[in-house]
């Protein structure tokens, strides 16, 4: 399953790279990419683990850049 999100307010390219790295390590994630310029997060992961993946991803994002809001496309 592929899920797309908008990361509103992301303003640091290095943080985007950090987020991408951390989200890729979440259990069940096949591939995650954070595109700093289009402010898009795309997560490809196992269907049944998706809810927890999204929760974890949100936590990671909040930790790295607290002002970022994760929204569904």
């Amino acid at each position: 399953m592929k899920k797309k999100f908008i990361l509103e307010g992301i303003d640091c390219a290095n943080c985007a790279a950090k987020m991408e790295r951390a989200i890729n390590k979440i259990d069940g994630v096949k591939k995650a990419t954070v595109n700093f310029f289009t402010s898009r997060l795309i997560i490809e992961g196992e269907d049944e683990k998706m809810p927890t993946i999204i929760q974890e991803a949100e936590k990671i994002i909040k930790k790295i850049e607290p002002q970022v809001v994760m929204k569904k496309v």
């Binding site: 303003d11 290095n14 790279a17 310029f37 289009t38 790295i64």
Partner: protein, 614 residues
Amino acid sequence: MRKQLCRIIIAGILFIITTIIDFGNEWLKLVLFVLSYVIVGWDIVRNALVNIVRGKVFDENFLMTVATIGAFLIGEYPEAVIVMLFYQIGELFQSYAVDKSRKSIASLMNIRPDYANLKKGDDLVKVDPDEVQVGDIIVIKAGEKIPLDGVVISGSSMVDTSALTGESLPREVSAGDEILSGCININGVITAKVTKEYEESTVSKILDLVENASSKKSQSERFITRFARYYTPIVVIIAAFLAIVPPLLIRDASFNDWIYRALSFLVVSCPCALVLSIPLSFFGGIGGASRKGILVKGSNYLEALAQTEIMVFDKTGTLTKGVFKVQEIQPEGISKEELLELAAHAESYSNHPISTSLKQAHGKEIDNSRISDVKEIPGHGVKATVDGKIVLAGNEKLMKKMDIAYYTGEMDGTVVHVAVDNEYAGYITIADEIKEDSPKAIKDLRSANIKQMVMLTGDSASVASKVAQELGLDRVYAELLPEGKVEKLEELFSYKSPKGKLAFVGDGINDAPVLARADIGIAMGGLGSDAAIEAADIVIMTDEPSKIATAMKISKKTLKIAYQNIIFAIGVKVAVLILSALGITSMWAAIFADVGVTIIAILNSFRALNVKNL
């Protein structure tokens, strides 16, 4: 952003006044310095504190806070303020640059239609393009974007396809023509029947592609994120070492001096310039390419394109128009017109491209009542009775079979021999035409340092070698079946150097396996063809092969910019680090290595977006 600018200006003025005017009171001076520091940098300090509480150290906020507060503590007040001031200017510039590139991407994304005029009975309802279904009727007024792919049922208009193809000349459409979402209807009102849902429409596919393009990262981007990961911690560790160890070991060394050097390290420790400017270059390159009607599916492909050594082309539809045309009519004993007329009538029951081109060249209505007893002889040709005469039309095998002496000299293209009542009547040659753009494409690619240009085709050897010769290709492999193309491609891989890449250019319809096997698969004429967009790594929206050379130029320019940024940024940073460690430079140089380099690198990467003259 404006608020930020105000803070920088106020703090800057206060700082200048404090430095220039001699108050005669050191305490007042310190208070004013602290004041301007607080005005410009309070949010950085706050963020640093918040992040430490959250268990996240070593981010930019923390490093800048330590560097500046450290400078205050060792009595370097002006430096403390100036570092924060410039850091904020750099940040402001970065967000400006990011904002600007996001906007230029948005303008690229401007092809996204906002609504569709759905026809419900006699009414027009504005709806979200998402809600329109296949078979629905939509109306597109002048100036509106075409929201979904469809077929025109009534009305005619000029359509601007430039957002998709980079082609500035508008195209005329009328009833029966296909229209693609993302184009703009210029003047007339057209009514169209929707053929694809929004998700499947051209505009969605293209937007999806551009949005996802940066998920496939180039080697330079990967290198830089890896570099950034280790760079900051290493620099910070060295800074800590510099602050503590030398003053303890070296006699006469003062803590203040070495701490100053260590603080300079912290100022240089931020990897922003690289982490931002390298992906920005690639993003610019991909964006610039799409303005030219070249869709690149990832930074990695843009990077690989510059390293292409072998370019392999499919013939039909790629280098040639894919439309067969009568080239030569050589009658024997009858007139040219008669020969063509007989051949066109004899072949008229077939729907083979040869028959189509004969009918086209003949240019007149085929009178079916004149034809009888049509018999196709598979692999040979046709036997038919036209105006009471027995006409044979086909290849040389047919002539041999029927024992008719035929012309055996040199002939180009596909040959149709004709015999009337067992008497040879001459031949007609039919060939595909080379695209007007192909010679330029080959020339441009040659000057872009492509070492070998190869053509693979299922067509006959004589036709293939003629095209290859005319265009000046290096190798040609003809009469290949689809599997044969993949085999040949495998073979060609051995001709390139280990670092070089092999690209295959095809029309994307029946070349999917070859497109997939090549390092870079390039599909031509992708506009409206899902297969091409799916299978290829790079899609040329128009039919022009010369766009491949354009894409290579964009690729090379982008790579050059990316490398310049890497070398410049790392070079300056390392140089300043060494000089600071030796105590030769001041913190000013460190500020330049951080903020100055970021600004210059970003400005440089903006150049990638400019592809006008390529």
